[in-house]
Symmetry: C2
Subunit: 125 residues, 2 copies
């Protein structure tokens, strides 16, 4: 493999790996799951309860993806019934800050965006 380090302009190419990562990381559920796991490890059912509206399928699927990306660690406790804990890996924790910044932006600009919507929708009837 030719390891030229990726530059920021590579992002605009379809085959750019960073772009695929951005797709996954900017994903709706990913952001929320990492948000919950920022508070510490959690069980499957805890995640499911804390993230309103997520289906069992999407939770499983997203967690598998995050595990494969090396962002989340999964531990199975072979009790009866089985207990499974999820927690952020070290790399996962480095993602907390950028995502939190995005959440902060969303919360801070919520009102201004709603205003913009009102203006736009009014102008267009």
């Amino acid at each position: 493999m030719v390891t030229t380090s990726a530059t920021s302009s590579d992002l605009y190419r379809t085959d750019c790996a960073a772009r695929q990562i951005l797709d996954r990381v900017g994903d709706r559920w990913t952001v929320l799951i990492i948000g919950v796991l920022s508070d510490g490890s959690a069980r499957f059912s805890q995640l499911r309860r804390r993230i309103e509206g997520i289906s069992q399928k999407m939770l499983t699927q997203t967690l598998r993806g995050l595990e494969r990306d090396g962002l989340v660690h999964r531990t199975v406790f072979p009790e009866v019934p089985v207990r499974v804990e999820y927690e952020l890996t070290q790399m996962g924790r480095t993602l907390e800050e950028p995502l939190r910044a995005l959440q902060r932006w969303a919360l801070e600009n919520e009102d201004r965006i709603e205003e913009a919507h009102a203006t736009y929708d009014h102008r267009a009837q």
Copy 2:
């Protein structure tokens, strides 16, 4: 609890406005379009050429959304043929930094994630 200002925990509720914003803002094309417009205003065709793989439909659609959100400004120059310029609004520019942080993270962790994939896929066969 009846509070007007959104707190970070509200994000986990389906009806949270910030969550919907996050959905849009974390969107694949949104990130890339804002990335291009960070370098300055651009015409429709320029955006289309710089973002590999985007269809005309998705470009139009995403730009309309961004305009409605008040993040991008659209100027029509009534020449022949018509020229349309897009540029970030002031609010749009406040989004640059959080998104750039995310892009930086993706670029910095690209290799580590690929390693994680290899490990994961090998373990699972």
